[in-house]
């Protein structure tokens, strides 16, 4: 079995759920090893990587300088010289790291993948494109493959036999890059599950008129994250991190609830691959209804409180 390296994503020192999804996918492609770039992991995090099958955790010690894509790619390259396949979570930054690594190694790259499998010794990936109206299967013809996989497209499952998760330190000198990070202003971590990873997303658009009280309440009841349309973030009603769409966050939750969102193609491109889609909009002609499994033409102020009350009642009963 060939080595499949998985780039670990962390948040406040903890491994993220999409990393476990990537490890689960990697187990179907070969023998997974995890690559950790940054300050050394806590033993608990090592153990968690082992649970999802990592045989080794290769640590490349690095600081904020590894935030520069060229430096991150060099660190990842040093730790994955024996890997036929490198799997990572599809984020804007990782797409840049994947590109740099591919140029260094000759690997073929697919980003935004919704899955991958080995076919006749080649990695083939699945993607949805054109606002999730088409399915595409791509073969990576090059000998080495890099796959950046979207969160929520593979179910994270612990390995039948846990991996050893042996810590191996990789001594890599990060290259001097032209780019220098002058300042880093941390964005406060969202409360609850991050948008891209949430099993349920409740989004509000122009129809909220800027009041997210009911949207947040429904998201809380359903255990989901709060999203928004471009209209709403442009109005300054909610921060850009909440924007669902082609240039914001792409989400594929089991349930997507669009509240007062018309459903312009830019928005649909970021959510159309979701499991079940529910829409509430006052405009019966809103394009969002074309892709909604359950649509309500009505006022958010009437519909949402009634739905929330009914869910509470159901749970109490």
């Amino acid at each position: 079995m060939s080595t499949v390296a998985v780039l670990v994503e962390t948040r406040s020192g903890e491994v993220t759920q999409p990393t476990f999804e990537a490890l689960t996918l990697a187990r179907t492609l070969g023998t997974p090893v995890a690559v950790w770039i940054g300050a050394a992991p806590e033993p608990a995090e090592l153990a968690r990587l082992g649970v999802y099958g990592a045989e080794e955790v290769r640590v490349v010690p690095a600081g904020d300088d590894a935030r520069v894509p060229a430096a991150a790619a060099a660190a990842l390259g040093a730790a994955t010289q024996d890997a036929a396949v490198v799997v990572m979570v599809s984020t804007f930054v990782n797409k840049e790291v994947a590109t740099r690594l591919a140029l260094a190694t000759g690997a073929g790259v697919v980003v935004d993948a919704a899955g991958a499998e080995l076919v006749d010794g080649h990695v083939e990936t699945l993607q949805t494109v054109f606002a999730a109206t088409w399915n595409v299967r791509t073969r990576i013809a090059a000998e080495r493959a890099i796959v950046a996989v979207r969160p929520n497209t593979t179910q994270a499952i612990a390995g039948e036999t846990p991996g050893a998760a042996t810590l191996v330190e990789v001594g890599a000198e990060l290259p001097e890059t032209r780019e220098a990070i002058v300042a880093i202003e941390p964005v406060p971590a969202p409360e609850g599950v991050p948008l891209a990873e949430a099993p349920v997303v409740v989004s509000g658009g122009r129809g909220t008129n800027g009041d997210y009280t009911l949207v947040r309440e429904l998201a809380d009841v359903l255990g989901g994250a709060v999203g928004a349309s471009r209209d709403a973030t442009d109005e300054g009603w909610i921060s850009h991190e909440h924007m669902v769409g082609q240039t914001g966050t792409t989400v594929t939750p089991a349930l997507y609830v669009a509240c007062g969102i018309s459903g312009a193609v830019h928005h649909r491109g970021g959510m159309q691959a979701s499991g079940t889609v529910v829409a509430v909009n006052i405009d019966p002609d809103a394009p969002i209804f074309e892709i909604a499994d359950f649509g309500v033409v009505g006022d958010l102020g009437d519909v949402l409180p009634q739905a929330i009350a009914r869910i509470h009642e159901h749970r109490a009963g």
Binding site: R11, R67, V68, A70, T91, K95, E96, A98, T99, L103, G106, A107, G108, V109, V111, D112, E124, T128, V129, F130, A132, W134, V136, R137, T138, R139, I140, A142, R178, E179, A180, I181, E185, V187, V200, L222, H240, Q246, T247, V265, H266, T276, V278, F289, I291, A292, D293, F294, G295, V296, V297, G298, D299, D302, V303, Q306, A307, I308, R310, I311
Partner: protein, 262 residues
Amino acid sequence: MRILVTVKFVPDLQSQRSFTEGAVTRTGDDGTMNELDENAVEAALQLKEAAGEGEVYALTVGGDDAVAAVRKALQLGVDHAIHVSDAAIAGSDVFGTAKVIAAAVRKVHDEAPLDLVVTGMAALDGLTSMLPTALAAELDWSQLTLASGLTVEDGAATIVRHLPDAHETVAAPLPAVVSVTDEANKPRYPNFKLIMAARSKPVTTWTLADLGIPAEAVGAGAARTVVVDASPRPPRENRVKVTDTGDAGTQLADFLIERGLA
């Protein structure tokens, strides 16, 4: 300030987009300049205007129809348009495309040095966002990608990069490849005078031979990835749409409960 902007010819978002033989169908009828490239053109024009001097080039790669992308850039006010077209480019992956664009950038740069290449954050057909990085690496220029803000002074460019965990300020010496997001600016509309002037402006056309690139270095044969299947996703079935007459909220909740989602 000398700036080159890359623009891409893509199917209109509102059109029925499709695949033909493993590649995105691109025709003159429903194609247009990638919307996110308008932010790149705007960023370049603003920098030139602020500097009070300079030249802006728009460059596109693609078949005959792709010239529409640079024509649009001329309407917005760029000074020069270049169209790289060669049958051997068809089927290139991002690395082949980056090789072609890098050669064209070098050709312009050799005539008189460029300060910046500015691109959009993604093309709204493929949405991979890989080209700006591949181009910077191919040129061995500074890479300043996903800029929500951009300033250029004293031979260096500084950008603000909005990432999910942090807002980074990144600086690098010129020349640099900068990709700008749709937060970076508000693109202008072409005015009548520019639309008229754009009609008569010449578009320079280059082939692979003009760029010194052998045909086998790009195109489908050199691509590291191949689309083996593309098919439209079936539409959602059994959709329900109700108009609220007093109990639609309850119906909505019951739908979620039935599906085990609430």
